[in-house]
Every structure is written in structure tokens, then in C-alpha cells.
């Protein structure tokens, strides 16, 4: 692994982000819209119920963005290189799969941090939601696990793009919304029907959001649950790192890297 190549890839993503309105909207417009809709809806519900739910909804949304951006953005930047066919020049250069993975992970972290910052600022302005009043140690753990899992998801979808080409590009934007309902972001696992609970408890994300609610309610958090989430996320991401290197090798065999789509 060579740092100058990782830096060059990051430079590429930096320029691409600045030059494209789509990529700017991804980290500013959509997150703000999310805060607007969920925040005002929550305020409304808050008015007709007795339970304080603003913190738990907004707290969930602002950490959900790490899973959202860090899994989706790497895929979108890979897709862009397929759309403009510059992937040809990228792979003719001495770039290693590991370097690509590291660069994409850093991209994911940076872009989720930007979206996160936008979200907590807007939430503060609109609803006086103060993120820094929470147990930040807990939040650091939650965010760390979500990022790890997000990398795995991003690598999985990227592998599918290398394997099947841009015809599976819709997965880049849709996968995360399939995971969301099972991850119990806004409601406890017990709110799900039994069949869905069985899927939910397997997902590391569910454990993170369950503990998030515990932390916000001032209850002690279940570290066993977080350790499970961490181990699953690490394993998943390691397996996906292996899967993507196989997928890229497969793409070279099928001639996808140097093929007009």
C-alpha cells in the first residue's frame, strides 16, 4: 500500500465532490431535508403524546447518516468512474485494491462527518437539539460500529457493480433503505412483528439503535450487545473486503473494466 496513491484517489474524490451538484446535495440537501421532515413530525407527535421522543428520533437520525453516507458514497464514486469510463485509466495505473478500499473508506468517513455536522447544526437551530449534551463516549462507540458496518455494505454493493456492471446501480441508492426498517432506527425491536424481529436481532445496526435509546433514556447500556454488533460488523467487512478483491479480479476476467457499456 502506498500513501501517494491513496492521496491521489482522495484528491480525485475531492474534486469530483466539489464539481458535482449531486454530490454536494448528498451531504447537505438530503440530510437537511431529513431533519426537517422528521423533526417537525416529531414535534407534532410530541404535542399529542406525553413521552419525550424528540431526542431519540433526532439522535437516531444524526447517527444513521454515518451508515447512509459511508455505505452509499463509495459505490457512487465507483459508479462515476464506470459512467465516464475513466475506470480504464484507473486500473491501468498501479492502483491496488487495498488502496482503493482505504481511499473509499476515508471518503465515507469524511462525507458522513460533513453530513453529520450539517444535521446537528440544523437540529440545534430548529429544535434546540444539543447533541453535545449526550453521553459522547457512547455515541463514539455507536458511530464507530455503524461506520464499520457501512464499509462492509459499501464493499458488498461495489462488488456487485464490478461483477454485474452499472445495471445494478440502483442498489447503490436502495440497499440502505432495505436495511433501515429492520435496524429499528426509530422504534424498539418489540415494535416489529415476530418474523421481522428474527431478522432484526441479527443485524449489528439494531443493537446499536437499541443501545442508543437506552443511553438517551439514561439507562445502563448493554455492552454485550455492542460487542456482538462490533464483531459482526468487523467480520462482515473483512469478508466483503475479500469479496471485492475477487469481484475486481472477476471483472478483469470478464473484460468489464475495458468494455463499453
Amino acid at each position: 500500500m502506498r500513501w501517494h496513491r491513496i492521496r491521489a484517489l482522495l484528491q480525485n474524490y475531492y474534486y469530483a465532490s466539489l464539481n458535482s451538484l449531486d454530490r454536494i446535495f448528498d451531504v447537505i440537501y438530503w440530510p437537511i431535508l431529513d431533519i426537517f421532515i422528521w423533526g417537525f413530525m416529531t414535534l407534532y407527535i410530541q404535542g399529542i403524546s406525553e413521552f419525550n421522543i424528540l431526542n431519540s428520533i433526532l439522535g437516531a437520525i444524526v447517527i444513521w447518516v454515518f451508515l447512509w453516507r459511508a455505505s452509499q458514497d463509495p459505490v457512487v464514486y465507483i459508479l462515476e468512474s464506470f459512467w465516464s469510463r475513466s475506470v480504464y485509466h484507473l486500473f491501468a495505473a498501479p492502483v491496488k485494491v487495498s488502496e482503493l478500499m482505504v481511499a473509499l473508506s476515508i471518503l465515507g468517513i469524511v462525507r458522513s462527518l460533513i453530513a453529520f455536522t450539517v444535521m446537528i447544526s440544523v437540529s440545534f437551530l430548529l429544535y434546540q437539539f444539543n447533541f453535545f449534551a449526550f453521553n459522547l463516549g457512547h455515541f463514539a462507540m455507536f458511530i464507530g460500529i455503524l461506520l464499520l458496518f457501512a464499509w462492509g455494505v459499501g464493499l458488498l454493493i461495489s462488488s456487485l457493480v464490478f461483477r454485474f456492471g452499472t445495471r445494478v446501480q440502483v442498489l447503490a441508492w436502495s440497499t440502505i433503505w432495505i436495511i433501515q426498517p429492520f435496524s429499528c432506527v426509530f422504534y424498539p425491536v418489540s415494535a416489529l412483528p415476530v418474523w421481522a424481529q428474527k431478522i432484526a436481532v441479527l443485524l449489528p445496526t439494531t443493537h446499536v439503535f437499541e443501545q442508543l435509546r437506552a443511553s438517551l433514556a439514561g439507562n445502563t447500556i448493554n455492552y454485550g450487545s455492542l460487542v456482538y454488533a462490533l464483531v459482526v460488523s468487523v467480520l462482515f467487512t473483512v469478508i466483503m473486503a475479500f469479496v471485492i478483491s475477487r469481484a475486481i479480479e472477476k471483472a478483469k476476467k470478464s473484460g468489464r473494466i475495458a468494455k463499453a457499456e
Binding site: 496513491r5 469530483a16 462515476e80 465516464s84 475513466s86 480504464y88 485509466h89 498501479p94
Partner: protein, 316 residues
């Protein structure tokens, strides 16, 4: 010493359940500093061959030795010492010309990147488009940009896959001049694909003709081009055919006949054909019609590959 040796390279693509053989046991070797041309009609397998040598496509079988090393075991080093340009794959559309060049200069760890970028961009006339996004560049500008990218790392082997397609003729000429100059100055080896004969004639030291995934002929560019300059003369006789044949025999010109037609090949109209026609007139040999044509590159390729097939059959 050979800087690149390719042995029995083979690549098939699965197409609708069947196997399409794109490259069928290609072997060749290129000397340091040589400009080696791969020629052939569309679909002959030129690009697939290049893609296997730039690490974009994996061969089914075969070996590649580059810089004296097994390419597939030293891919990182080999890629660092090579580069590729083509008119068919552009740099990132969302980045400006300059941003793209900066990224690739850093990818290849170029020393003094801005200096290098400026020097090359001026040569290939892309400096005035530095701050324009690739998506707004003309196809000629995009291609020139790709060529600049391909020279950033001072490649020791430069792969050029139809890199002048879509350039204005005068620009193509300039690009060829610069590439030739680069080859002379640095001793860089160039592997070049094209179907423009003139281009190949001007640039290449040696040429390999490809057809249906096979190299059917390799040779010194000069000789092959000369062969291509042969013209075919066809004469139609309704009388005097016998006399014409004996005259041709006397002149030592091999010919073939078909019905009323006699055809033969000549190298030079002035030196061979006109004196011959004078002799026809002197001997009162009358022909009805004369037709002189030059085989196109395509015809030539096809004839070449048919000959190759014939030879193979007779060998067996």
C-alpha cells in the same frame, strides 16, 4: 534485449452461452525503443491484446514477460513503468482537465507534477482547456488529454490503442510527430494499434497484422508497406489474349487468368505498366478494357489471413 515478450496469449469471452475467441494464441516480442504496430480490422483482437498487457483484462492462458519479469507477478512495478492512451476511454467527466492530470500525476508519483503537466500540455495543446470539465471538451481535446496523461510518468512502454481516432488530420500529424520525438529522445518502446496505414507507415518499425485473434504476419514496416503499394492490373481481351500471355511470360511478370481477364501485380506504374502497354501497342495486341486498383488495407488483411489459413492447411 526484448523489453516485452508475449507468448501464446489467449482470451475468450462468453457471449450468450458460447465462447468468443478474441485473442487466439498471440506471440510476439518487442525490442527496447522499438515502435511496434498491431494492425487489423475491427474485432481482430488488437484492443483485447493491449488490455491484457495493461492489466485491464486477464488472459485465459499465455505468458507476458515485461522488463525481464513475469508481468502477472510484478504488476504494480510494470504498471508504474508503462502507460496507455486511447481515444475510446476518457478521463473523469466531472473533473477539469487540470484536475484529472494532477490526480494521475500523483497516482504515478510524478516528480514536480505541475512542471511536467505544463510541458506536456503545451505540446499537445490542452493548456487553454485546463479549467474546463472533461464533459465539455471536444472529443479531440479529450483524446489529447489522455495522451498527456499517458506521458506523465515517462513510461518506458507506451501502449497506444487507436489514439488518433477522431483527431483532425493536422492534429493527428502533430501528435504523431511528438510521439515519434518522444520515442527518439527517451528510447521509450511504443506498442501502437491502428487501422490507418499511413500512420503505421510513418511511425512503426515493425508491424504485426492481426486477423480473427491471430497474428497472421509480422514484418518490417517498410517491407510490408511496400507490399501494400502493389497495384493490381486487370486487362480484358476479346482477342489477342494468347499473344498477351506470351508477352507477359517473356517479361517475367506472373499473372492469373479468369475468362477473358488477365490480372497481374506491379510495383510501379511508370516503370512497369507504361513500358508494358507500349509493347502491347507495338505488337498490335488489343485489349478492350484496363483496370488498375490498389488493394485496401482491409482487402490486404483478408488476403493475408486466407493465405495464413491455406499455409496452415498445407502444413497439416
Amino acid at each position: 534485449m526484448a523489453i516485452l515478450t508475449v507468448k501464446k496469449l489467449r482470451k475468450t469471452f462468453p457471449i450468450k452461452g458460447k465462447k468468443l475467441t478474441a485473442v487466439d494464441g498471440v506471440s510476439f516480442s518487442v525490442q527496447k525503443g522499438e515502435i511496434f504496430g498491431l494492425l487489423g480490422v475491427n474485432g481482430a483482437g488488437k484492443s483485447t491484446t493491449i488490455n491484457m498487457l495493461t492489466g485491464l483484462t486477464r488472459p485465459d492462458s499465455g505468458s507476458v514477460t515485461m522488463f525481464g519479469k513475469n508481468y502477472f507477478k510484478n504488476e504494480e512495478e510494470c504498471k508504474q513503468r508503462c502507460n496507455v492512451a486511447t481515444a475510446y476511454y476518457h478521463l473523469s467527466h466531472n473533473l477539469t482537465a487540470l484536475q484529472n492530470l494532477k490526480v494521475f500525476a500523483n497516482l504515478y508519483n510524478v516528480h514536480n507534477p505541475m512542471e511536467k503537466i505544463r510541458e506536456l500540455s503545451e505540446k499537445f495543446m490542452v493548456t487553454h482547456r485546463f479549467n474546463t470539465k472533461v464533459s465539455y471538451l471536444s472529443s479531440g481535446e479529450r483524446t489529447r488529454l489522455v495522451i498527456v496523461k499517458a506521458l506523465l510518468n515517462n513510461p518506458e512502454i507506451l501502449f497506444l490503442d487507436e489514439c488518433t481516432v477522431g483527431l483532425d488530420p493536422d492534429v493527428a500529424e502533430l501528435v504523431r510527430d511528438h510521439l515519434l520525438q518522444y520515442n527518439k529522445e527517451t528510447g521509450c518502446t511504443i506498442i501502437f494499434t491502428s487501422h490507418y496505414m499511413q500512420e503505421v507507415e510513418k511511425l512503426c518499425d515493425r508491424i504485426a497484422f492481426m486477423d480473427s485473434g491471430k497474428i497472421v504476419r509480422v514484418g518490417n514496416a517498410h517491407d510490408l508497406v511496400k507490399e501494400l503499394q502493389m497495384q493490381r492490373v486487370t486487362l480484358r481481351f476479346s482477342q489477342n489474349k494468347k499473344e498477351a500471355k506470351s508477352l507477359l511470360r517473356k517479361e517475367g511478370i506472373p499473372f492469373s487468368e479468369k475468362g477473358k481477364m488477365i490480372s497481374f501485380q506491379i510495383k510501379n506504374k511508370n516503370k512497369v505498366l507504361y513500358p508494358l502497354l507500349e509493347k502491347f501497342v507495338k505488337k498490335k495486341i488489343v485489349f478492350d478494357d484496363i483496370h488498375v486498383d490498389k488493394p485496401t488495407l482491409e482487402e490486404y488483411f483478408i488476403a493475408q489471413s486466407r493465405n495464413a489459413v491455406k499455409k496452415e492447411v498445407t502444413h497439416k
